[in-house]
Symmetry: C2
Subunit: 337 residues, 2 copies
DNA sequence: CATTGGCACTCGGTACACTCGAGTGCTAAC
DNA sequence: GTTAGCACTCGAGTGTACCGAGTGCCAATG
């Protein structure tokens, strides 16, 4: 790839991102001072088109980037992202004044990221398997109904209601909770040891039931939780989607957490990664680009934050924002942990 | 209001709901057998227009209902809703096999209602003030960081992290929790008594901090939680909105729970209520209709379920679905409570 | 006197012709 | 290799004509 051709490609992408209009050779020749005429630009553009980086929506129109063109742009011209000062400050302030429970924090982080980038944002919570049991409590809600609560090291609380024929009373529940704590505390919640019988039949039955209930919680709940912020931004970007339907399908997709989590999971170990249009396997994302970055808690990969927007998005800003947020979130959670 | 005029109004509303096209006099005269010619229908239509029930989008077009027209239709022709058998069965099955924690249940209920009506659905959770404290636990997560957990009678768990200079140890936390339980158990969570000092200085400080933290939880969190399901349906109904922007604003509105909860709260004591277009004070809802019904737990008003769609929605189906879901949800929660 | 058939009128939607201009590809000259 | 020039393409915008659904009004009707 010629240096001048690269500059032209860059110009096409940047102008198109800014104006949403196909970019012609004149505009490129004038807006950048390449020192060449529009005719030369035209020649290079035909080559770029043959190589698959740009395309014409119609004959006699300007060029727009293809997914491959965006890819080249992202790989070569956005190595480090950018973040407007006002936004950088907003992010810093948010994480300085953050004093919330984990769920609330992640939820609000997704909203922050959405506000800063003007696109939909996603935050995947820390994997539960890092969290260890710190306390267990059994509360008798009604005769025959017991609520089992486990407090985890990351401040999360897991709970499950049990319906039991045996109608255990308050004191027995307390004793069972104590026994469970003795056996479970310090173990990761999603890999609890089996309940070791104590000899007391009724207590053992309750203990085992609770152990089983926790197992069910682990099995039923995806180990990571997804928080999506700023879905309304999809409607605002509507013009960038080919169909109105495609936007509707996208919204639908976001309602089903599972898909998105699986999408986010297979991810490079570090740094910001970008996935553009057809690079996504999921067909609802054909018009979209995703910018993702993992965050680390005390050096360990813990979760992911990301931005979802049209392929025609400001990658520099998005990458900058995602990098900043993932970094700060990791720091904060490391401090809290 | 003439009987025939009412029939014509009804025809206009029903046809318009079905086809989304302005309805002409011929179509009314033919589709219904009123026994009159299109000319007569025309005469009545001009009167209906003067009375404000219908309007012409342009001269020489058919008529479409105004908000007032929908209002008359809802008040007079949809007294009891309707629910397709398949849907009725789906609702029944859902509530029979429901065995989940409260939050999950309400969330899934909103999705159910959205699926059945093909519109966005809202569920407002039971007011927290009914819930009483059943257990309190303090867990030391790290030196200087304590997580206070309160288990409530409705199976909900409230929690708050405390950062304390005093670095209380495990045993002291346990003692404080016991003291708190002694004082708080049985009291409604959002109206806890002040912490009565026990004489032990350090314990009292921790106890008071926890009491204060719980107070903050009550203050910060709206006492009811809102669950919104099927926001993607808004995009599907996009043609019914005047602007694309208006749909975007609507999505944005739904992201801010507070507004919607306040909207849902001031509500008649019982039965399904419908609020149409300009009847809503909130300007984002100018194009929307809302169908709401409260549900009761053991006879007590507890929360609300509702459907949000374009004014051009199938009110009969929506009313039927909302009525069925609110009824069943109330029953289930009464059983669980 | 309510109802109806008839009729002139309105106006959105579609089809068609035309122009304008941005943008292209190609070629010949520098 | 670069550039100026030129013919060509085609989308977008504009003006005209026409069709047809729908209306309002009026005179005729039972």
């Amino acid at each position: 790839m010629d240096e001048r051709k690269a500059a032209i490609l860059r110009a096409v992408v940047e102008e198109y991102i800014e104006t949403a209009q196909p970019v012609g050779s004149q505009r490129v020749a004038r807006s950048r001072n390449l020192g060449v005429s529009s005719a030369t630009v035209r020649n290079d553009m035909t080559v770029l088109e043959h190589e698959g980086y740009i395309e014409q929506p119609h004959t006699s129109a300007g060029r727009i980037p293809t997914d491959l063109g965006y890819r080249y742009f992202v790989d070569n011209f956005t190595r480090e992202g950018v973040l407007r000062i006002a936004h950088r400050r907003a992010v810093a302030e948010f994480f300085e004044s953050a004093h919330r429970a984990l769920e609330d924090l992640l939820h609000e982080t997704s909203q922050l990221l959405s506000r800063v980038t003007d696109h939909t944002a996603m935050v995947v919570g820390p994997q539960a398997d890092v969290a260890r049991v710190r306390g267990i409590q059994l509360v008798v809600l009604h005769p025959g109904v017991v609520l089992a609560v486990a407090v985890l090291s990351n401040g999360a609380v897991e709970k499950h209601t049990l319906e039991l024929a045996g109608q255990p009373d308050e004191t027995r529940a307390r004793a069972t909770a104590a026994a469970l704590e003795g056996q479970m505390i310090g173990h990761p919640f999603n890999d609890l040891p089996e309940f070791r019988p104590t000899g007391d039949d009724e207590l053992d039955r309750l203990g085992q039931a609770v152990r089983k209930a926790f197992g069910e919680v682990v099995a039923s709940r995806p180990s990571e939780l997804l928080y999506v912020g700023g879905t309304s931004k999809i409607a605002a970007d509507l013009e960038s989607f080919t169909t109105v339907d495609s936007a509707a399908h996208l919204l639908e997709l976001l309602e089903h957490q599972v898909v998105v989590v699986s999408l986010v999971r297979n991810l490079l170990d570090q740094g910001v990664s970008v996935s553009i249009g057809s690079e996504n396997e999921i067909k609802e994302l054909r018009d979209c680009a995703i910018v993702l970055a993992p965050y680390r808690i005390e050096g360990e990969l813990a979760g992911t934050v990301g931005v979802l927007g049209p392929t025609r998005m400001d990658y520099r800003q998005a990458i900058g924002a995602v990098a900043a947020v993932s970094d700060q979130l990791g720091r904060l959670l490391s401090r809290m942990d």
